[in-house]
C-alpha cells in the first residue's frame, strides 16, 4: 500500500544571532508551525523526527528527539528519532518521514530541525567544524571550515568555464534582494553589485557576501498522508512527488571532480524520475547556496542549464523572478543563514507556500518546486521535488 504524502504546515523561529538555547529555538519553530495551520494540534502528530548536526558539540545533548518531543508537547507513537546529515539533516529527516508515511508506518509526522551555533567563545563552532570533513585526514590538515574548500571549487570553475567574480556576486545580490521579504531570515538588507564585489576577502576569490553566515535557528514542518491532510487543511494540497539522495565519496582524496558534482546529478535524476518531471518543469527551487559558486554549479548539475553556463544563467536573470526558474526566492542560505538541521525545512516551507500561492513574493502559477542540499565537502546531495498535483 503506497500512500500520497502532503506537506500541511511549516514555520520557523527567528534566525540569526539569538539569545536563546537550542531547546528554545525548537519550541519557537514548532509554535510557528502550529500557528501556520491552526487545524493541527500537537495531539494530532503521531511521529517526530528531529534534525540536528551539532547538538552534541554545541549543546552537549544526545537523545535529542525525546527531549524535543517533551518540549513540544508531542507524544510520538510511530517514530521518534534524530537524523544527522550535516547541512542536509533537515531534508534527510523529511525524506525519512515521507517514507514512513508513504508506507503506512506513520500518519502525521512533525520534522523539526535546528542548531544553536553561537557559543560564549566564538572559536568553538569553528573548531567543531573540523569534524565536518573527514576529521582524521582532512580535518587534521586544517580543512573543515567550508570557505577554503569552496574557494578552490570557485577557482577551478573560473579556470575551466570562465565564470567571473561578478557572476558569483550576482547570486548574492539576487538572494539578498529576495531575503528582504523574509521576516524570519538573518539578513534583510539588500546589497548592490559594487558592495558585493568590494567586500572584504574571506578566502580568495570568495568575499564576505559570497558566504553564508553562522546562524542560530530552527524550523519545523508537518507531513501527513493524503487522507489526514484533507482533514487537517483547507489549503491546496502540496505533494512530495519524488526524492533522491546520493553520495559517492567523502574524503578529499576520493573526490574525482570538484566542479561537476556527480552525486548531485544522480540524486537529481532519481528525484526527477520518481516525480515524473523534467528540469524544465521546475518553476521554483531552493538550492544550497552556502556559497555563491555553489548555486552556480547547482544550476548546471540540476539540469537547468548546460555545464559551464551557470555564471551566464544568473547574469541573464534566468534564476530570478520572471526567469526560467526562480531560485532561492526566500533569500536562501545567503540571506536566511544556515542552522544546519533547519535549512532543508526552511526550503520546504518556502516551496509549500509558493505552491499554495501564499509566498511573500509569489512565482505566478508555480506547480512544481524543488529543494536541494549539499553536505560535507560537496560529497552528499539531497533533492526533493514537490508538486500541486499528486501525479
Amino acid at each position: 500500500m503506497e500512500r500520497n504524502v502532503c506537506l500541511i504546515a511549516g514555520g520557523m523561529s527567528q534566525w540569526g544571532v539569538r539569545e536563546a538555547s537550542q531547546r528554545d529555538l525548537f519550541q519557537e519553530a514548532a509554535k510557528a508551525c502550529f500557528e501556520d495551520n491552526p487545524a493541527v494540534r500537537p495531539t494530532d502528530v503521531d511521529g517526530l523526527i528531529v534534525a540536528s548536526a551539532f547538538t552534541e558539540r554545541c549543546s552537549f545533548q544526545t537523545h535529542l528527539a525525546p527531549l524535543v518531543a517533551e518540549q513540544l508537547g508531542i507524544r510520538p507513537r510511530s517514530v521518534c528519532a534524530r537524523v544527522e546529515l550535516l547541512c542536509a539533516s533537515g531534508s534527510s529527516a523529511l525524506i525519512m518521514a515521507y517514507g514512513l508515511i508513504k508506507s503506512g508506518a506513520a500518519d502525521v509526522v512533525m520534522v523539526a530541525g535546528g542548531e544553536k551555533l553561537y557559543m560564549p567563545q566564538r572559536w568553538e563552532v569553528f573548531y567543531s567544524e573540523l569534524g565536518t570533513a573527514d576529521r582524521e585526514w582532512d580535518g587534521a590538515q586544517g580543512l573543515g571550515l567550508p570557505p577554503p574548500i569552496f574557494a578552490m571549487v570557485a577557482k577551478q570553475h573560473m579556470k575551466l568555464y570562465g565564470t567571473t567574480e561578478e557572476q558569483m556576486a550576482l547570486v548574492a545580490v539576487k538572494n539578498r534582494r529576495n531575503g528582504v521579504n523574509n521576516p524570519r531570515g538573518q539578513f534583510r538588507q539588500p546589497i548592490d553589485l559594487e558592495t558585493a564585489l568590494n567586500a572584504r576577502p574571506i578566502v580568495s576569490p570568495l568575499k564576505l557576501y559570497d558566504c553564508c553566515p553562522v546562524t542560530d535557528g530552527a524550523a519545523a514542518v508537518i507531513l501527513a498522508c493524503e487522507e489526514k491532510a484533507r482533514d487537517l487543511t483547507d489549503r491546496p494540497l502540496v505533494y512530495v512527488r519524488g526524492t533522491g539522495q546520493a553520495t559517492l565519496h567523502n574524503m578529499s582524496a576520493n573526490q574525482p571532480n570538484w566542479t561537476t558534482w556527480e552525486a548531485l546529478r544522480i540524486a537529481a535524476q532519481m528525484a526527477y524520475k520518481r516525480a515524473g518531471v523534467k528540469p524544465a518543469d521546475i518553476d521554483v527551487a531552493q538550492t544550497h547556496d552556502c556559497f555563491t559558486i555553489s548555486e552556480i554549479i547547482e544550476y548546471e548539475d540540476l539540469g537547468f542549464c548546460e555545464k559551464g553556463e551557470g555564471g551566464w544563467f544568473v547574469q541573464e536573470g534566468k534564476s530570478d523572478f520572471g526567469g526560467q526558474v526562480a531560485v532561492n526566492t526566500d533569500g536562501g542560505l545567503l540571506s536566511c543563514g544556515h542552522p544546519f538541521g533547519g535549512t532543508g525545512l526552511r526550503q520546504a516551507i518556502e516551496i509549500m507556500k509558493q505552491l499554495q500561492g501564499r509566498a511573500a513574493r509569489q512565482v505566478e502559477g508555480a506547480r512544481f518546486g524543488l529543494t536541494h542540499n549539499l553536505s560535507g565537502p560537496a560529497a552528499a546531495h539531497t533533492v526533493i521535488i514537490y508538486g500541486r498535483d499528486k501525479s
Binding site: Q121, W123, F126, Y127, E129, L130, G131, D134, R135, E136, W137, D138, G139, A140, Q141, G142, L143, G144, L145, P147, P148, I149, A151, M152, K155, Q156, P201, I202, V203, S204, M251, S252, A253, N254, W258
Partner: protein, 159 residues
C-alpha cells in the same frame, strides 16, 4: 578567560583534532609508525588488489582483511591553492594555506602547506611531505599513565 577548573591540566580527546594513533585505539596504527620514518603509506588489499586512501583495516571492495602497506609518492604538484586569513580554526595559524595536490598522478588530495610565506607557492609548484611532532597523548593503563608520542604530516615547497 579561565578554563573550567574540572579540566585543569586534563587531556580531553573530544577536543583533540588530531587522531589517536596507537595500536590501542586504531587498527591502522602502522601508518603513523611509517610516518615517523618519513614514509607516506596506505593499504592495498592482497585479495583483490584495491588500493585505498585513507588506509583501512577492511577492504571496501571485497571485505577482505588481508591488507598490505604500500608507499605513496611523497612529492606532488600544486593544482589549486588558497590562503585562509579569516576564522582559522584553533590550533592552526593564519594564514592557513590549503592546496589541492596531485601526487604524481596516483592521487589528488587537500593538504596544508607549511614552511612558506603567503604568495610564495604558486600553481604548478612542486611540494613534498613534511612530518612533525604533535602533542603527545596521556593514555591511562593499568600500570599508570603512559605518554603516547605522535607525529602528523603536511607538505612544504621544494626549494
Amino acid at each position: 578567560m579561565t578554563a573550567l577548573p574540572i579540566l585543569e591540566g586534563r587531556y580531553a580527546a573530544s577536543m583533540d583534532f588530531y587522531p589517536q594513533q596507537s595500536k590501542e585505539f586504531t587498527r591502522i596504527w602502522p601508518f603513523y609508525e611509517h610516518l615517523k620514518q618519513g614514509r607516506f603509506t596506505t593499504t592495498r588489499c592482497r585479495a583483490c588488489g584495491r588500493r585505498s586512501f585513507p588506509p583501512r583495516a577492511i577492504c571496501s571492495n571485497c571485505y577482505s582483511e588481508d591488507m598490505e602497506w604500500v608507499d605513496l609518492p611523497t612529492r606532488g604538484k600544486v593544482l589549486v591553492l588558497t590562503e585562509e586569513v579569516q576564522g582559522v580554526p584553533l590550533g592552526f595559524e593564519a594564514p592557513l594555506i590549503h592546496a589541492l595536490v596531485d601526487l604524481q598522478g596516483e592521487m589528488t588530495m587537500f593538504v596544508r602547506l607549511v614552511n612558506c610565506q603567503p604568495g610564495e607557492v604558486r600553481e604548478g609548484d612542486e611540494v613534498r611531505l613534511v612530518v612533525f611532532p604533535i602533542p603527545e597523548v596521556p593514555q591511562e593503563t593499568r600500570s599508570g599513565v603512559i605518554k603516547q608520542e605522535r607525529v602528523y604530516y603536511a607538505f612544504e615547497p621544494v626549494r
